[in-house]
Symmetry: C2
Subunit: 338 residues, 2 copies
């Protein structure tokens, strides 16, 4: 479809003319969409019974391709995960590209392949999209926005304001993998073998988890700002204290060493396939066991509990036996992580 002399994105690919139609057709073919049906301005979807979740995220990750994923896979998973942690079953996503003039059509093809496979993994359809092109030097390769909608089953009421003293805090696996993998690619640092991003569509774990267990009050994915940011948000919104135990937090040795080397706090590092669950203590074991049965939760662990005070604080018992406050990072440790 694309001609040989069009192996790079041209400004003309964004212009609403024949070349834009060709680009859109290339994208739709790659995604396995039906190119023969008329392209409308919006997708029309069947009625969703009950409440609906709606979310958006723009992805500006640098580099575009990294160990364990790329911007395409990430852009689907990030949005699917935002829906899943609200208790929604992801249904449909939109895809909007801002592409820099001169971007390689081959790289665009690789990204589209990743989008397609992530959407298949997560069982969501890409139903609508948009493409813009900006001049060379006015973007950084490609930025992708994905918005998503999902169906919230009856009875699901999750909120970061719902944690109560006595509740148990669970995470579904190791922290910091995504951030360190990005950093090691970007800075060309070798922290050791096996370091790769954890980018994954958590809905494949969370949807059955919510169907099969009870007592889950809060779920949040631990992306920008890491585990520290979500725990602090929950502590603030719920007016509680969250106490965690450093020795119980799953952490790969490469990530621990990499963080030590760079002076980073692993709890501040972004993840793209990790979420925190706050659960009624009576149901904690069952919830943990169900998470561990899933490939995305094999290393899940109970990392702490909720107490009444000091409110709006996250306190960690360190491996040395002391206690310290886990703060939000102030600014940006690792820019453009997602």
């Amino acid at each position: 479809m694309m001609k040989r002399n069009e192996e790079k994105i041209l400004m003309a690919h964004g212009g609403g003319g024949i070349l834009m139609k060709e680009l859109v057709r290339f994208i739709m073919e790659k995604l396995g969409s039906n190119c023969d049906s008329p392209l409308q301005d919006s997708a029309i979807l069947d009625a969703i019974p009950g409440r609906m979740a709606f979310t958006t995220d723009s992805f500006v990750v640098d580099p575009l391709f990294f160990s364990g994923g790329d911007i395409g896979h990430l852009s689907v998973c990030g949005t699917v995960n935002d829906l899943a942690v609200c208790g929604a079953v992801p249904l449909a996503i939109s895809l909007s590209f801002i592409i820099e003039e001169g971007f390689s059509m081959t790289d665009l093809g690789r990204i589209l392949d990743s989008i397609r496979s992530a959407a298949e993994e997560a069982d969501v359809s890409v139903v609508t999209g948009d493409t813009k092109v900006v001049e060379k030097g006015k973007a950084d390769g490609i930025f992708i926005n994905t918005s998503g909608i999902g169906k919230v089953p009856d009875g699901i009421e999750l909120s970061s304001a719902s944690a109560r003293p006595g509740d148990i805090v669970i995470i579904n696996g190791t922290v910091g993998d995504h951030g360190l993998a990005i950093l090691s690619m970007r800075e060309n640092l070798d922290f050791g073998s096996g370091l790769e991003s954890d980018t994954a569509p958590l809905s494949t774990l969370i949807v059955p988890l919510l169907e099969e267990t009870e007592g889950i009050r809060v779920m949040r994915d631990a992306t920008r700002g890491g585990l520290a940011a979500v725990l602090n948000e929950i502590a603030c919104d719920s007016e509680v204290c969250i106490r965690i135990d450093e020795s119980s937090i799953p952490l790969r040795e490469t990530v621990r060493k990499g963080c030590e080397l760079m002076g980073y706090e692993p709890l501040h590092i972004a993840n793209e396939g990790k979420f925190v669950v706050i659960v009624d203590p009576d149901h904690a074991e069952k919830v943990l066991e169900r998470i561990q049965r899933d490939p995305l939760g094999k290393e899940a662990a109970i990392i702490g509990s909720v107490t009444g005070s000091p409110v709006r604080h996250v306190i960690m018992k360190t491996v040395f036996g002391g206690e310290r406050v886990v703060d939000l990072p102030y600014g940006d440790l690792l820019p453009r992580i997602c």
Copy 2:
């Protein structure tokens, strides 16, 4: 809320830490959102009875501020219009910013004010959002993605494949205003007084139009690629010929002169407040009259009709009495128009 030394966007505003929380709070306050309710990853919306429309658009317009609008106003109207021309009543939009390091907080504030006022005009709520920051030189000020959802009333079945021979073609006003306004700002050209973008939320016209009239088969907004692009799309999707009469197409004298001067075809120039209606001939007068009663349709006109052949062609009777084919533009006449 923002401190004096934070008058420009810093990389740290995108990092998931305290500064990002402050930026999000600034945005929410500007938009009139409730900053005290917990921020979830997704908005949870009440059930929408019946079918739903879902759309997305990224906005990269250059310059950010132009006569008749700015990127904020445009980003709301563009998405609202995509919903409206599908027959949907716009309900909620998401807002995702990619901001270049060093961007002025004052300009961000102006853009947010425009977003708020456009959302109020269009009667939609901004329900969820995202903010990313990229290094200086890796974007161009600010890019905005808006996605939107709307409710499609029962009985509405619009499609660009539904035009039939005999149907009447209506446009709601003058063509080319937006594109020429952008061009004149960007190139510092003075084409004459009164030239401004037509950016407007068309739902305020279209929602009552669909309630009060019958016989509308196709609606499309004439954005990138202009009137020529949408008419060609409809001609192709419906397998018909669309014949238009140049003398009946509403065109401001400044736009006509500006296009002449620059060698542009006015039918190829983008609009942001214009839409084409293809209507059953028995209902055309009523539909035209209803459009003309609206402030956004005062200059509406019948510009042509649908015939059986030659299929997939748009043919224009010129002011000189001849006929010519109206093609799609090949590439990009005016980049970054939206």
